[in-house]
Symmetry: D3
Subunit: 340 residues, 6 copies
């Protein structure tokens, strides 16, 4: 019986060491991750009871992914084992002007091939307070989208709060497909997380382009995007992540939150990046943690942004930071001094 | 324009370092291989002009596999690039009583999805003397089996010698499917390579079980198997590899050859194994090299067995031995002294 | 609520890569282990509900050890966190005539410093069927020995079966200390595991030395040792592991079991060793698994010996073999053939 | 039959991992490279037919260098094998205020010892359009300088365009030796690549020192240098690379080109450096690619500079970037966003 | 017979590779270090005769630490071998907003347990000119503090110059304990090195807080701190290191020196950090080198700061830079150009 | 002032990891070694005062080799630094039927180019008891051979015992050259170490070939060889190492010694080899240690053979075993049990 249920795929991630490209690599570092699994792991690291719902193949790769979730404290009792592959993704770390590249190799994965009725949501949600998914899950196929919809309706029925990170992936579906499916799902969503590209690609909500091109953030434009999302779907809370990518090595990172009480913009961090994959997921988890713990929106936002910042200084998809470390950063110590 | 054309898949091979199991691995060594690609690479290493015919995806994994063939001198001008994944296989190295385990992850590969008419065999075979494939290629699907048959009929028409290693894989097709397809293909085959399990699984030719259970080889039983294969299909030459597996670390290894002139059994090597995958392919390549170079059958057999032996002392699928090293072993120096 | 409760320390294990000695090493492979933790991990791998009882420091090393148990499915809800270090041990892998060397660096560990009353055994044992510890635990100090005795008396009171692996370590205590403490504890033990050195060092029960010096096993001598142990303490079952060490690379390995019905000697395996540490623990876990699953003593013994054999082909303390793999070996397939 | 012929040495490059210094290293990463080989590899990566002309020893190091060229698609049919060593260079990666250091260990290399008449230039140039070399090649000895001169005269005679990167190396020859030899060779050169140090060291053409000391580029001074080079030798095109080195970690990077139509200065990139070795070679290859593909000088320059920039974000001597990646950067997207 | 004697602990340092956190690490890089050992190693690298005084256990870890000192030229003839552990410390490298973290695991080390009378200072100091220690040594226990005091009084008596780096570590002792012990020791100290935190924590000398918070250095405040230290204890020279930590990746670094002739502030370096541990020790060693070589205070200061800067671009505790490299940087070339 | 002086080259040794071949390697493990340096290091490990005499280049490779000697306690005060390269050798580890291969790359090394008068032998030998060299040193050139002869005559004059390991290397000189030079040098040699190939190649002393081909050792033949060596040159002691190479993985290893009192054959060890390079050097060092410590010839021989055996279980050229470990093996415990 967990507080939070997360639903999605988890993949083997293969990355060449250091800054090598795949065509020069003679080995890969192996970790595990995926947008929703990253959120679940963060929440478990933070000490919340969280269950991950997915399907994994019955082979040693499925075992390894299963164990990795368990290792970091994620509940695995709702994971179904069965046919299909373990999805894989290859990630080349970029540097400076060379962007990171990601190659998804998830065709035919056990999760992608899972039937809509694989999971018993009423049983899974018993005793839980929150359900989280991202736009990647329904993008994987009609079966999975249906399972997602079943989860949403059951969650609503059972009184769970539902959160969704739009996470549009153009390689998985078209904007039209996304809009249709996500529009339906978003009727059940209480807390929506997005960036300006998601807002545009999924819902056609355009953030004023001047904001993107100018050197500094045009916060008003982003606030408009948040408000439009709120108005369109009645989300209780809308969070927008703001990444300014100067290069693959240096990004600025902040977020804003529109909630029932107001609209806040967090501190902005200048990050010298170790691994930016999972930064948005760490933000989402941090925000959810704050909200679940009853923090004020402003504080939950700062906690989320600090969590997302720290993630990007850590190798792998998972944010292996502690609540104390995140709080310390959120409260202002970004000096990176040695802790001894 | 190459002497020898080989047709099959090439996969990314991922192996945990040392003797780690996949569930404890935090990295994988990355090499490339596949039964037919292993043969092609050996032949190129031996200095023969050889072309590999396959289909690879248009992404950095496809590039990496392409480059690896090129690196070792295999001709790549007949490789088609296009949709689908790069097949992957995971190989855990065993030791002592723990056998090596292999997990194929080739579902939806570009090669597996390739249309039968992908290749223009007349053009590919122009000027060539020999065509080689293995039973894995037709097992990948009807489309590929058809391409294989087209290759065989064209090869026959154009006067190429055709060789085939039966290589039965129960995870790819049933014995019935194998029998039907391989029976048709074998009508075009001049040189057949097999072990006793292949002979039984594909053609129902049983090697006297006493031979398998007794401590020493019952050569007569294997000779019968070779003769039956010869009689059934009219193969000009039949080679049978004989592996006695005492443990994952220690195997005995020899082979016999039935040709137009007689039936020979090679020396038997006691191998302390580094990596046994590709041993049979290295044997096949060695035998073909000997035959193409006009060696007497007895010598070609010894060259093949020594090649297969050395491969098993080398990491990865490919036999990165030189002709000189193999000749030295085939002529009797197995002392493993330092070369300085 | 678990079936089996295990009690002991878990340490960080640092091993130079490959066959390096510590004085030439520039890195260490980091795993986690300890006699009782190894048993717990095996049992969890086999699918049993098992809880590990220990104390770990509140720092990232304690977290890492905690996570490693969780990763392999061991229950961690009875682990107490608090002051002291994480115990460490350094293990140099030997080869041929050079034996492996182990340097314990557990002085001042959180577990060693834990007060006897740290754990509430009644609560921990609620619903459990079995309690397991080894002679290392009481050797760590009077406080820990007292906790062990409390656990034993509580287990007896609550009807749990108690098993103990004598595991004498001369660096931790003297033979006299061991005899006094273990004599008291053994009154609560139902299943005793030992080798002939333990029997002698702890209880002065000498196995006829001719057996040790002769090339082959003098089983009768070992049987006498088992019987004497049985008679002295009334153990229901006594298991004796028999290792014949030809070199650091090659050992023979078997065991015998005396139970209510008879006395059996298992198959003997000739092992080409990858990592022998934890072999005895894997045997213990395998035996316990068999007994808990209601196997006949003879079968439980064979399962345990096969488990111990496979462990020694795997890097690290833990036996990451599956029940199916062990059963396959126990039923006779030691050929180490590739599984594909 | 290749479009472009490049002539020079290729060495084994040994670099300690990460930021280690050689005196603390217990391993070296092994790659292969050299100024001209780096150009050839880039051109092959871009899809041009290119042949590398060199001499390599007949041992496994020579084989490895040969294979590495082949791996990345460089033509190897004009490589001669024979006596001497494989040249080696050791490269310590610098960081911040600690510059990278390079130790050449090429004494007695097969290439350095090769006789002037080793290659048949008429045969090598048959069908080719372009010949490229750098100032390192003639600096290796009179024999090699003579071969280079033979190549130049033959190229001129056969109508090939000739390009040269001055690449002055003070450890290989004196300024006087360089001036004498390069003056003779440059009479055959159509496209000259240099930086301001080369211009001064080889030809005594001084770039106004104010430009070097001031915080910003004094482009006029560099333009004068380009014009003087053009006037002195009648080069059709002169390219000057402009590196502003703030530290070993951060450089600014641009170039200017003087051609028949005008004088252009490229965009300037602020690079957070992964490995700066080979940046100039990647620029040269990019420029040549642009010119061979018939781009306008301005575009060829931008392509070259972007290529040089991306190289410096990649480990090893070779620029393993694709034409598409370089074009994307040259056309303005330097944000380093994740490609997914 | 050495010029300089240094006294303190040396520990095994274990760091996860790259930017991994300990809880995700499967290996550790192993080096050796400690504040005083780092100074000794630098001095030996600079060519001075230096002896390290410590106690190491009689096991392979003690051997390894002993060898590492010897490797870099430190005299080891005054090292005593005996009981206790080798101290260990775990260091996680931080990045950007995530600070590095250090976990000391030195409880029960041989050095910490050494009796005050372990060393014969008269014999050790025979012929020496200088004695150096840091505030960490007396913090390890009363026995060690007593040994330190004995060393100081003997050094004074024998005419050695004594230097001390305050190096306050709050995990080792309280401010009160430090003040009492260091006040006594500092009466024997000629050259004092500190940063503003040490000055405050040990002696309650507060540096004006505006200086710390403002973007730029308030040098006057630091100068006051130096003067107060000088006045309180009569130090002949006081050096204050000034680190401005923008993030774990980027620091500014300078120092000031108050000596008999005046008060100087060095150049300030903007460092992109590879490994900041040992930067202060490298500064101390550089300063001592300058003073021992008779440099003017201003030059000794610049040498020390440049040494400290270069250290932070090198992995591990030790500053493996040469005098020539440091001089080059101190004299102004911070461009990080390739040395070839 | 050392007891033993050793004279020879020390090289950087580069080995691909595990069982990789050089043509597949993307990294090399870096160690340092050479026949005479290996002896010196062993002797220093055993606690003897030993100085190594060689010449090393003034660059970071020379520094690294210098430091490595110092690390293991070898005296370095007689090492001259100057022009030329550091010699390198590449070593591929073999396995089973694939022998290890060694590629020497020592052309133009500082040692090889050193003038005969580089060293002042009278000064070097002052206070020493023993001088050791091997046949590799004079094989490097006339200059080095002359230095060796100077050393021998000075040693004789100053009363040092002289030992020599014949160590014939056919890649360095012809049998004729070796015979001429070694005949002259051996007049000064008291203790000669050889194997049967050295005896034949250098001095034409043939060991009865039946001995080599038969399965078991024909000791009498080897004894004849020892006696002939003794008679020809008047060596006080002659040691012959006997290696029976079944494969690259498995060798038998023993030695015999002819001294003033008799002729002894040691125990024979069956070694499962980790790294056989340096086995003979470790034997020589063990024998010398025994003789220097005044052991009986029989015991010195057993110590040497056990030392050589243990070396072959350790990675790298150096025998990092302790006297205690060697004594334990020499006295009969070859079981390879875990030391804990």
């Amino acid at each position: 019986m967990s507080d939070i249920i997360t639903f999605g795929e988890i993949m083997l991630r293969l990355s060449p060491p250091n800054y090598q490209r795949v065509i020069q690599a003679s080995s890969f570092n192996a970790t595990y991750g995926g947008a929703e699994a990253n959120v679940a792991t963060s929440l478990a690291q933070f000490g919340l009871e969280t269950d991950y719902v997915t399907k994994l193949p019955k082979n040693f790769l499925g075992d390894a992914a299963f164990n990795e979730l368990r290792r970091y404290g994620v509940g695995v009792s709702s994971i179904v084992r069965g046919g299909g592959r373990l999805g894989i993704y290859f990630a080349e770390r970029g540097a400076s002007q060379r962007g990171s590249t990601v190659l998804y190799d998830r065709y035919g994965s056990a999760f992608q091939q899972s039937a809509a009725e694989t999971w018993n949501w009423e049983k899974i949600f018993a005793g839980a307070r929150w359900f989280h998914f991202t736009g990647i899950t329904p993008a994987l196929g009609k079966n999975v989208a249906q399972a997602c919809l079943d989860a949403c309706t059951t969650a609503r029925k059972m009184g769970l709060t539902v959160s969704c990170d739009l996470n549009f992936r153009s390689k998985l579906w078209s904007q039209e497909q996304a809009r249709q499916t996500m529009t339906e799902l978003c009727h059940y969503v209480d807390v929506c997380i997005a960036n300006e590209e998601d807002a545009y690609s999924v819902f056609g909500i355009q953030t004023d382009q001047k904001a993107l091109l100018s050197g500094k953030l045009d916060l008003d434009a982003y606030k408009q995007t948040a408000k439009k999302l709120h108005e369109r779907f009645g989300f209780h809370k809308v969070a927008i992540t703001l990444r300014r990518s100067f290069s693959a090595s240096d990004n600025n990172w902040s977020a804003l939150l529109l909630d029932e009480e107001g609209l806040y913009h967090s501190r902005e961090y200048s990050i010298h990046i170790v691994d930016r994959i999972g930064g948005g997921d760490a933000f989402g988890a941090g925000l959810l943690y704050g909200l679940l713990k009853g923090m004020h929106g402003r504080d939950a936002l700062e906690f989320g942004v600090a969590a997302g910042c720290l993630k990007q200084t850590i190798d792998g998809d998972f944010n292996l930071s502690t609540v104390a470390e995140i709080q310390k950063l959120a409260h202002g110590d970004a000096s990176g001094r040695v802790q001894r």
